[in-house]
C-alpha cells in the first residue's frame, strides 16, 4: 500500500470516528424523543433530521460552506472568532456527521420503538425515575439496534464525499479521505490505487452491513450469541 492509501485510511477513520462520537448522543436523544413522545413540531423535527438523506450532498455542502464561510451566520466575521471548519478536517467531520445523522436517528428510533413501553411502565412502578428507567432498562434493551445505528452512521461518515468535498476540500494528507482518494486516483488515471481504494470501500461496506443486519435481526443475533 502506498503512503496515500495509509493516510487516506487513517483520515477516514479519524473523521468518521469523531463524527460518530459527536452525532451519536444527539441522534439517540432525538430518536428516543420521537419514538416515545408526541410533541408539537414533531413532524418538523423528523423532516429536518431526514433532510440530509434526501438532499443532494453538494447542496448540503454548499449550505454548510455558506454557513461557515467568512460572512456566514457562523462565519468568523459574524462570530468574531474562527470555527476553522472551511478546508479543514474538522469541516469534514461536520459534513460527515450531518450527512450520517438521518441514518443514525432512523435506526435508533426503530430500535427504541421495538422496546415494549410496558416494560418501561413496570420499571417506573418499581420506583425508577425517568432517567433511571432510560439508562437501566430502555437503553440496554435497545442496545443492539443502537450499535447497528452507530455502525451504519460510522460507515456513512467514511463514505461521505459531496458535502465534505465542498466544505473541507480534497487536500492530500489533510482532508483527502478514502472516498476522495478513490476519486482523485481515478481522475489522475492511477488505476492500481483506484482499485485498491475500491476494494477497501467494498470491504468496509460489506462488514458494516453484515454487522448491522446481524445486530438488528433478533433471530440471527440470538443464534450468534449461543455459539
Amino acid at each position: 500500500m502506498g503512503p496515500e492509501v495509509g493516510s487516506a485510511l487513517r483520515l477516514s477513520v479519524q473523521v468518521a470516528l469523531v463524527a460518530t462520537v459527536v452525532i451519536f448522543p444527539v441522534a439517540t436523544v432525538l430518536a428516543y424523543w420521537m419514538a416515545r413522545h408526541d410533541f408539537p413540531g414533531k413532524g418538523l423535527v423528523a423532516a429536518l433530521t431526514t433532510l440530509p438523506l434526501v438532499m443532494p450532498p453538494t447542496a448540503m455542502g454548499l449550505l454548510l460552506l455558506r454557513l461557515f464561510g467568512a460572512d456566514g451566520l457562523l462565519g468568523r466575521n459574524t462570530l468574531g472568532f474562527d470555527l476553522d471548519l472551511v478546508l479543514t478536517w474538522k469541516g469534514a467531520v461536520v459534513a460527515a456527521g450531518i450527512m450520517s445523522l438521518p441514518l443514525v436517528v432512523r435506526t435508533a428510533r426503530v430500535s427504541f420503538e421495538a422496546v415494549d413501553p410496558r416494560l418501561e411502565s413496570m420499571a417506573r412502578t418499581l420506583g425508577h425515575g425517568h432517567s433511571s428507567t432510560f439508562f437501566r432498562f430502555t437503553l440496554p434493551l435497545a442496545r443492539r439496534g443502537l450499535v447497528a445505528a452507530a455502525i451504519l452512521g460510522f460507515t456513512r461518515a467514511v463514505g461521505e464525499f459531496g458535502a465534505a468535498m465542498m466544505v473541507a476540500g480534497n487536500i492530500p494528507g489533510r482532508t483527502r479521505t478514502l472516498s476522495m482518494a478513490l476519486y482523485s486516483a481515478q481522475q489522475q488515471g492511477r488505476d492500481v490505487e483506484a482499485t485498491t481504494f475500491l476494494l477497501i470501500a467494498i470491504a468496509v461496506g460489506v462488514v458494516a452491513v453484515f454487522a448491522s443486519e446481524r445486530l438488528a435481526d433478533p433471530k440471527l443475533s440470538r443464534r450468534g450469541a449461543g455459539r
Binding site: L65, R66, G69, A70, V86, L87, M165, G169, N170, I171, P172, Y183, S184, Q186, Q187, Q188, G189, I202
Partner: protein, 285 residues
Amino acid sequence: MLSSVEPIGAMILRTPGLCLPAMRSAPAVAVLTGCLLLLGGCGGQGDDPLYVFAAASLEEALTEIAAEFELREGRPVALNFGGSNALAQQIRNGAPADVFVSADVYWAEDLARDHLLVASSYSEVLANRLVVVGHESSTWEMSDLGDLPALGFSHLSLGDPEAVPAGRYAKILLEGVRLANGSDAWSAVRASVVPAPDVRAALALVREEPRAIGIVYATDYATTEGVRLLFEVSDSMAPPIRYVAAAVAASTHPVAAARFLAYGRSEAAAAVYRRYGFVPLEGGG
C-alpha cells in the same frame, strides 16, 4: 435503440454486488427492465446526439458554438464538461464520446497513445493564459510571481496539479519561479494547495473563501464575478497552454464528428472563442 441500452446494461453487469440481491425478486426485475426500456426509448427518439466531451473552461464558448452548429447542421449536440483528465478517463472506459477537446496536450496524447483518438483529426486549436485571482474583497498586491508565496493567503486553489490541466500548468509555472532563498515558488506554496476537480471548481473556491488565492485561466476570470485579478501571467513565463481537439476513435458518428471539428475551426467559431478571450490558433487543422 438497442445500442443505447447496452452501456447501461453493461454498467449494471459490471456491478454484480449491486444488482444481484435485487434480482432475486421478480418485481425488482420488472422495475429494472422497465427502467431500461424507458431509457432505451428515450435514446431512440430522433437523431442520436453528437457527444462532445470538452474541458470545463470551454463551457460558455462551446455551448454557444454547439448551438450554432445544431442550427446549421440540424444535428443535436450533447456537451459533457469536466476536467480534461476526468473526460479522458471516461473515454478510456468506453463512454460514448464522439469529439474530445482537452485543455492540454498531455491528456489528448494519453488517449492518442492507445489509439483511442483519430490521429488525422488531432490538432491544437486554442491558446489560453493563466491569471492569479483573489476574492473581490481581498487587498493583496503583487507585481511578480515571486511575490506569491509571501502574500499570506490561507489556501492556493488550483485544478488538481497532478491531473487537471489548469493545475498542471500552474504547477509547471511555479516550479520555474526562483525565489530569493534559492527554492522555487512551487515548493513554497505546495502545502497550501487545495486541488479541485476542474478549473471552475478551483475558481468557485476563491469566490467562497476570501483568504484563498487561485490560479485559473484568463477566460475563467473573464466570465466570473466576485473575484479580483491579482496578476496576469505573460506567455513568456508560462508553459504554452494549448487546447487539443480530436475525434474519438470509437465514435459511431465519424462524419458528424469531423464536421463538428471543422466548424470549430471556422471563422464563426473563432469569433466566439475570441469574444471569450481564447486565442484560436492559425492553421489549427
